[in-house]
C-alpha cells in the first residue's frame, strides 16, 4: 500500500489539488453562481506561493497561507464589483477575470517568469499534508450539506426569487461564497505549485476552467462527494483506460456530453435518486398510502367545505 502510494504520489497529489479547485468552483455553483474565477484564484495562490518561496525565501507554509489569503481578498473584491451580474453574464465576467490574470502572468517579466513561468519551487509539503488539508475542507464543507444551511443553499440555487421570498438573504449568501471560493481556490494553487514545483501561464488557462467544470458536472454539483468522484475520475482515467490512448479527448468529450444531457445531477445525483427511491421503497406501507392519503385528504377537504357551505 505504502509502495503504491509512493509510486503514485504525483497522481494522488494531483487528485487532491484538482479536488480543491473543483470545490472552489462548486461552492458558488451550489448557490447558483456560475463562476470561472477559481482559475484566477488558483493562479494567485500558485504564483503567489512560487514568488514568495523562490524570490523572497519565505518559508513554505507562510507562503501558502499568505498566497491563499491574497486569493480570498481578491475574490471578495471581485464579488463586490460584479455583484449586479448574474447567470452567464457573471460567468463571462469571471472568465475574463481569470484570463486577464493569465495575461498578467505572461507579461509579468521576471516576477512571474513570463511564458516560462516559475520553477524550482521545492518546499516541504508532502501529500499527507495536502490530504490533511483536503480532509479539513471536506469536514467544513460537509456542514453546508446538512440541515438548514443546505436547504437554504439549495433554495438560493434552484430559485433565488423563491429563496428571497422565504426570507433567505440571497445576496449575502452569494457574496459570502466569493471569499470562501477564493481561499480554497488559492489553496489549491498553492498546494499544486508545491506538488509540481513549477507554474506557468499555460497551467492556469481556459483548459483548467473546462476541466474543473466538467469534473463537477460528471461528479455532481450538490456535494463534495461529487467533486471528489469527478476528480478521481478525470485524474485517473488516463491511467486506467490506457487503451483509450489517443482518443482520450474524444472519450472525455462524449462523457461530458452524456453527463450534460442525461444526468444533470452527476454521479452523486444519480446515487441520491437511487437512495431516495430505495428509502421510499423500504417504507412500502407508508408509500402505499401515498395515493390513498391524497385521496383521503381530498375527501376530508371536500367534506369540510360542504360543511362550511351548509
Amino acid at each position: 500500500m505504502m509502495g503504491w502510494i509512493d509510486q503514485n504520489e504525483f497522481l494522488i497529489g494531483s487528485t487532491l489539488t484538482v479536488f480543491l479547485l473543483a470545490i472552489s468552483i462548486q461552492i458558488p455553483l451550489r448557490l447558483g453562481v456560475i463562476s470561472f474565477a477559481s482559475i484566477g484564484y488558483y493562479a494567485i495562490g500558485g504564483y503567489g506561493t512560487a514568488i514568495l518561496m523562490t524570490q523572497y525565501d519565505v518559508s513554505t507554509w507562510t507562503s501558502v497561507v499568505v498566497a491563499s489569503m491574497a486569493a480570498a481578498v481578491v475574490a471578495t473584491l471581485l464579488g463586490l464589483i460584479i455583484s449586479r451580474l448574474n447567470g452567464l453574464y457573471l460567468a463571462m465576467a469571471t472568465v475574463s477575470f481569470s484570463l486577464l490574470l493569465s495575461a498578467i502572468a505572461v507579461n509579468g517579466g521576471s516576477v512571474t517568469g513570463g511564458a516560462v513561468g516559475l520553477f524550482g519551487v521545492i518546499g516541504d509539503i508532502t501529500i499527507w499534508h495536502t490530504a490533511g488539508i483536503a480532509v479539513v475542507i471536506i469536514f467544513l464543507v460537509s456542514f453546508t450539506e446538512r440541515g438548514k444551511l443546505s436547504r437554504r443553499i439549495d433554495a438560493t440555487r434552484e430559485d433565488s426569487q423563491l429563496a428571497s421570498a422565504m426570507g433567505i438573504n440571497v445576496t449575502a449568501y452569494r457574496r459570502l461564497s466569493f471569499p470562501i471560493s477564493g481561499l480554497i481556490g488559492g489553496l489549491a494553487g498553492a498546494l499544486a505549485v508545491n506538488l509540481k514545483t513549477a507554474i506557468n501561464p499555460e497551467s492556469v488557462n481556459f483548459t483548467l476552467v473546462v476541466l474543473a467544470l466538467t469534473i463537477i458536472i460528471i461528479g455532481g454539483q450538490a456535494s463534495w462527494i461529487g467533486a471528489l468522484a469527478g476528480s478521481l475520475f478525470f485524474v485517473w482515467l488516463p491511467e486506467i483506460l490506457v487503451f483509450v490512448g489517443e482518443w482520450e479527448e474524444v472519450v472525455y468529450g462524449t462523457l461530458v456530453v452524456f453527463a450534460a444531457v442525461l444526468v444533470p445531477g452527476g454521479v452523486v445525483g444519480v446515487f441520491n435518486d437511487w437512495r431516495h427511491r430505495r428509502s421510499v421503497a423500504r417504507e412500502r406501507p407508508k408509500v402505499a398510502l401515498l395515493e390513498a392519503a391524497a385521496g383521503e385528504s381530498d375527501a376530508e377537504l371536500t367534506q369540510s367545505r360542504s360543511g362550511k357551505d351548509g
Binding site: G114, F119, A198, E202, E248
Partner: protein, 418 residues
C-alpha cells in the same frame, strides 16, 4: 502574386518549447553503428565515419563488460498526442530506429536486449509528471528519456534530481530543464548556434532589424530578448522594434504594418513552427521583397514547402540538414529513408536517435543498470564530443552544443550557405 500554400510537416504548437532542427547520427559509439551496419546490411556506415573519440572507451567497455542476460527496460515519456505530437512522433521514430540497430548489433551482450516503454504525456505537463514520478520510483528503470515539452520538463527535472535517476531530454529548450547532475539535454539551445547568422548579417551589411517573436515560447523569448540584442551590440546593428505576440495569433497584418513603417534592412521572424510560414506569406502579401532580408529560425523549413516561392530567400541557422557533409549524418539520413519508406529525416528524429544511443552507451560504459553508475557514465560520455546524426556534438554542463549551419530557402528546399 504567388500561390499561398500551406501544408506543413513539422509544426508548432503551444507548449512545445522550441522547434529546433538538428542533425544526428549514432551517438558516440562507432562500435554500435558499425555493428548495426553489419547486422542489418541496410545501414551504410563507413568505418571511417565512426572512428572517433569514444571508440576506445566503447571498445574497452565491450571487452570487459558482461551484462546479465535479459531485457533492460528504459522508459521514454513523449508527446504522442496533443499539440506537440508532431515532434513526439518524429522523435520516437528516431528512438525506434536506434533501438532496432542496437538490439540487432548484439552490442549489449549475449541475451541482453534493450527495450523502451513509451508513455504518452499527451502534451500535458501533469501527465508527464505523473508518468515520470512513477518511472522514477521504479528501481528497475535505469534511465529515463524525457519529453519534448518544456512545461513538462521543468516539472519532471526536480523529480529526476530527487530520485537520482538520469534523464535525457530532446527539445524542451526552456531554462529550468537542465538543473543538476541527473538532467541531460540533447538539443542545443537556439542562441548557442545562432551566431552563424551573425556573419551573414555582416556580409549583407544589415544595419537595422525589426523582430517579431512568439511571446509564449521560452526559447524564442530568450532569443529575441537576450541573444539578438547581444548580437546587435556585438555586430553594431540596431534593433528598431521587438514585437512579441502569442503564437496563436492569426492575423499579423498590424505588426507587419508597423514593421514596414520602420523600414528595417532585415526582419527576424521568430515564431513557432507553421506560424513562421504564416508570417512570411503575410509579409510577402504586404510587399516585403528582396533585397530586404528575412531571417528565420530553426525548424522553420518544415513549414515552407507549401508556401514555396514566398519563402525564397529566408535565411536562418539550423542544427540539422539532410545535406550535411558529416558522414554520420548521411548514414543516419539513409537509415531513416530505408526504415521509413524513403522519409526525409528530421531534426526531431535525429536528436532522439542520438539520445537513444547515448542511453545505450551509458549502460554499456557503466556495464550496469545501476542508476548512479549509468548517470556517471553518461556524464563521462558527455564530457567529450559525440558524433552522431547531429554531427559533432559537445556538451556544456550536460546540455548539448553544435556548430550548426546557416541555411537559406531557395524556393523549393533549404540549402546550406555555410
Amino acid at each position: 502574386m504567388y500561390r499561398s500554400k500551406k501544408h506543413r510537416l513539422g509544426v508548432a504548437a503551444v507548449g512545445l518549447s522550441a522547434v529546433l532542427t538538428l542533425a544526428a547520427c549514432s551517438s558516440g559509439d562507432s562500435e554500435d553503428t558499425a555493428a548495426t551496419a553489419e547486422a542489418t546490411e541496410e545501414v551504410v556506415v563507413e568505418e571511417s565515419a565512426t572512428e572517433d573519440t569514444t571508440q576506445e572507451e566503447a571498445e574497452a567497455a565491450e571487452e570487459t563488460c558482461v551484462l546479465p542476460p535479459g531485457d533492460i527496460k528504459v522508459v521514454s515519456i513523449d508527446s504522442m498526442t496533443g499539440p506537440a505530437a508532431f515532434a513526439g512522433i518524429l522523435a520516437e521514430k528516431g528512438a525506434d530506429l536506434a533501438l532496432k540497430e542496437i538490439n540487432a548489433s548484439g552490442v549489449l551482450g549475449d541475451g541482453v536486449t534493450m527495450s523502451i516503454e513509451l508513455l504518452d504525456d499527451a502534451t500535458s505537463p501533469d501527465e508527464a509528471a505523473a508518468q515520470f514520478s512513477k518511472a522514477a520510483k521504479d528501481p528497475d528503470v535505469p534511465v529515463i528519456m524525457g519529453g519534448v515539452i518544456s512545461s513538462g520538463a521543468v516539472v519532471t527535472s526536480p523529480i529526476a534530481e530527487k530520485e537520482k535517476v538520469a534523464v535525457v531530454y530532446t527539445q524542451a529548450g526552456s531554462p529550468g530543464v537542465v538543473i543538476g547532475d541527473y538532467t541531460f539535454r540533447y538539443t542545443p539551445p537556439m542562441d548557442s548556434y545562432w551566431g552563424g547568422v551573425g556573419s551573414y548579417i555582416e556580409e549583407k551589411g544589415i544595419k537595422t532589424m525589426s523582430v517579431l517573436y512568439a511571446n509564449d515560447n521560452p526559447t524564442l523569448i530568450a532569443t529575441a530578448e537576450t541573444a539578438l540584442p547581444a548580437l546587435a551590440a556585438d555586430l553594431g546593428f540596431e534593433i528598431l522594434s521587438s514585437t512579441g505576440l502569442p503564437n496563436s495569433t492569426q492575423d499579423f497584418k498590424a505588426p507587419i504594418s508597423k514593421i514596414l513603417k520602420e523600414d528595417p534592412d532585415a526582419v527576424a521572424v521568430l515564431m513557432v513552427g507553421a506560424q513562421n510560414a504564416t508570417v512570411v506569406s503575410q509579409m510577402r502579401e504586404s510587399g516585403w521583397e528582396a533585397p530586404k532580408e528575412l531571417l528565420g529560425f530553426a525548424g522553420i523549413e518544415n513549414n515552407f514547402a507549401d508556401i514555396g516561392e514566398a519563402a525564397k530567400g529566408v535565411t536562418w541557422a539550423s542544427i540539422f540538414h539532410v545535406d550535411s557533409p558529416a558522414q554520420s549524418t548521411q548514414a543516419f539520413v539513409d537509415a531513416v529513408a530505408a526504415e521509413y519508406d524513403g522519409e526525409e529525416a528530421s531534426n526531431y528524429t535525429a536528436e532522439r536517435y542520438d539520445a537513444t544511443y547515448l542511453v545505450a552507451n551509458s549502460i554499456l560504459a557503466a556495464c550496469s543498470t545501476d542508476r548512479q553508475a549509468v548517470r556517471d557514465a553518461m556524464a563521462d560520455l558527455t564530457n567529450g564530443s559525440i558524433t552522431g546524426a547531429l554531427g559533432d556534438v559537445t556538451f556544456e554542463n550536460q546540455d548539448a552544443r553544435v556548430a550548426g549551419f546557416v541555411v537559406q530557402w531557395d524556393g523549393e528546399k533549404m540549402v546550406v550557405l555555410k
